[in-house]
Structure formats: structure tokens, C-alpha cells
């Protein structure tokens, strides 16, 4: 059943949003993430007609709905932590947006490490945005991601140690990165590329680093190092 605009506005205001999703009639969900800006930066292909898309860590579903809008024949939005209500939010935003957009995007609550072809199938395009550095076991997570990716992966992640050419990862125990206990790892771009190749992606491209000037590390004093350079990076990879 379609929601009247006033009812929709009221429902939107009752949810803590992460994504800013245009629900039509001038109503945009008040998320903290500049989702349109991120969409430009990940370089999502404009034409997804006939393709299947898996959005891992979909949260409110901005990128899932965008993939559908660009013609994807099937989109599966998955999440666990952001939908569980234990910290960051619930699935209420995704459910409401799907209803408001009259979307056919499918959803599945599943942990990244439980992804496999038998459970979810294989997808032409996988979106793995803002998740890798929250994984306690990043290489294993990428193995799972690769197992359900048929053609291409778009990966957006926090990166660290930009001043090193060798593949390295910074480890953030406790709340060292941005006071967030779910941030575990900061790979450098060489490490991301090497891990992607290790799990079976034959072509990997660093599309861009997002900040004009990499940031100094946000670690606590107890582990302070002279210079740590951090940023956000987008990678495209092909099986």
C-alpha cells in the first residue's frame, strides 16, 4: 500500500538514517552520509541493465536502490550489524525506503563470513562499501566476497600507511580509529590490491583516494607513531 506524503514524512522522521535517499516529492532521508557524493566517487557504471548486483553492508540501501534505478535485473541487499539494532541502527530505514520507492530489491540478513554461492548465488557486480576495515578477518572476508562475485567488485575502504609501498595493514585495537570499536584494520592500497589478487581477482584498479590531503593518524597517544597517513580509497576489481 502506498504511503501518503505526510505519513511518509512522519515515518522518515522516526528513523535514524545513515544514507540520504531521495524518496521523491522533495523528501530526502536525513542521513549522516553524503551518499550522492560517495556515489560519484565509487564510479558505479551508469548502465547496469540486465545485471545482478549484490550490495554487502547495504544499511539503508542507497546503493541497492541506485543499482536498481540503473537497470539491474536483480539486486540483493545484505547486512547484519547495521540491521541488528545492536549499535548502528536497524533495518527500518531500508524497509521504509523500499516501500516508498516501490522497489523490488531483495534483502537478506547475513554476515559477510557466511556468504557463499550455495547460500546467495553469484552476482555480476558486488558492492563492498565501507565494510572491509570493520572485518576482524579481512582476507577471509574478501575470500567470501570473491566467492559470490561473478565479474566485478567495487570496494570502498579506509586505508592507512600510505607512505609505504609494501603491502601493510595497521591494526586498531580497542577504539584506536575514530573511537569506534568496530574499526579493526587499515590496509594500505598495496595491501588491498595484493589481497584482492590473492583471493582471485585478476585485474585490480585503484580508482581514487578520496581526500585531497591524506589525514594524519587518529590513533591514541599510547600507540602514537611519528607519521601515519590515512585516507579512503575506491578499488575496482574483476574476476
Amino acid at each position: 500500500m502506498e504511503l501518503a506524503n505526510d505519513d511518509l514524512t512522519q515515518a522518515v522522521n522516526q528513523i535514524a538514517w545513515y544514507h540520504r535517499i531521495d524518496l521523491g516529492n522533495g523528501l530526502i532521508t536525513p542521513g549522516t552520509d553524503d551518499s550522492q557524493d560517495r556515489l560519484q566517487k565509487i564510479a558505479l557504471p551508469k548502465d547496469l541493465r540486465g545485471l545482478s548486483v549484490l550490495d554487502i553492508g547495504a544499511w539503508d540501501g542507497f546503493f541497492s536502490f541506485e543499482a536498481e534505478r540503473r537497470g539491474a535485473k536483480r539486486v540483493l541487499a545484505t547486512d547484519s550489524y547495521s540491521w541488528d539494532g545492536g549499535g548502528w541502527g536497524t533495518q527500518a530505514g531500508f524497509q521504509l525506503a523500499r516501500r516508498a520507492l516501490n522497489s523490488r530489491v531483495e534483502d537478506l540478513k547475513i554476515d559477510v563470513l557466511d556468504l557463499n554461492p550455495e547460500r546467495v548465488g553469484s552476482f555480476d557486480l558486488t558492492l563492498f562499501l565501507g565494510v572491509l576495515y570493520h572485518m576482524r578477518h579481512p582476507l577471509l572476508a574478501l575470500e567470501r566476497v570473491a566467492s559470490v562475485t561473478g565479474k566485478m567488485l567495487i570496494l570502498d575502504t579506509h586505508v592507512d600507511l600510505l607512505d609505504h609501498a609494501r603491502p601493510l595493514m595497521a591494526f586498531y585495537p580497542d577504539r584506536e580509529l575514530n573511537n569506534d570499536p568496530t574499526n579493526w584494520w587499515g590496509p594500505n592500497p598495496a595491501a588491498v590490491e595484493a589481497m584482492l589478487q590473492t583471493v582471485g581477482f585478476r585485474e585490480v584498479k585503484l580508482v581514487r583516494l578520496l581526500l585531497d590531503q591524506p589525514q594524519c593518524g587518529a590513533r591514541t597517544d599510547k600507540h602514537s607513531l611519528p607519521v601515519l597517513t590515512q585516507d579512503r580509497a575506491i578499488f575496482h576489481a574483476w574476476r
Partner: protein, 80 residues
């Protein structure tokens, strides 16, 4: 610097090898989506391969709407 003809030939050879199509089946004015049987994701992969091969960067706006080998070669040639 290679000539435009050499560049388009290199592109077609690389595309043929990568997507398993006979080189003789490709001509410069072919729509590479149709002739190679590829979608937008595979076209992006081809562009990445070409960037690496020729040592150039192809911004989105340069290749937006390009679908034939000859125009693609012109865009690359302009950046060599």
C-alpha cells in the same frame, strides 16, 4: 609514438586476446559491446587493461558513450 592505425590495431588485438574473440573478426568501426559480447562491467575492465597497456589514464568523461574501437583509439592516442 605509435600511429593511430597502430593504436587501434593494438586495442583490437588486446581485446581479442582478453575476451577470446578471433582478431580477424574485429574492425575499427565495430561496436565493441556487440562484437565482443561484453557488458558495461567488462567494458570497464577492458578500459583498465588499455590504461595499463598504454600507460595512460582515461577519465570517465573521455570515454563516456564511446563504443567503437576507432574512437577509443583516438581518445588514447590523444593522451600518449
Amino acid at each position: 609514438m605509435p600511429t593511430a592505425e597502430q593504436t587501434v590495431n593494438e586495442i583490437m588485438q588486446l581485446a581479442a586476446n582478453h575476451f577470446g574473440v578471433a582478431r580477424e573478426q574485429l574492425t575499427p568501426d565495430d561496436d565493441f559491446f556487440k562484437k565482443l559480447g561484453i557488458d558495461s562491467l567488462q567494458a570497464l575492465e577492458l578500459l583498465t587493461r588499455l590504461e595499463n597497456h598504454f600507460g595512460v589514464e582515461l577519465p570517465d568523461y573521455e570515454v563516456q558513450g564511446v563504443s567503437d574501437f576507432r574512437t577509443l583509439a583516438e581518445r588514447i592516442q590523444a593522451r600518449l
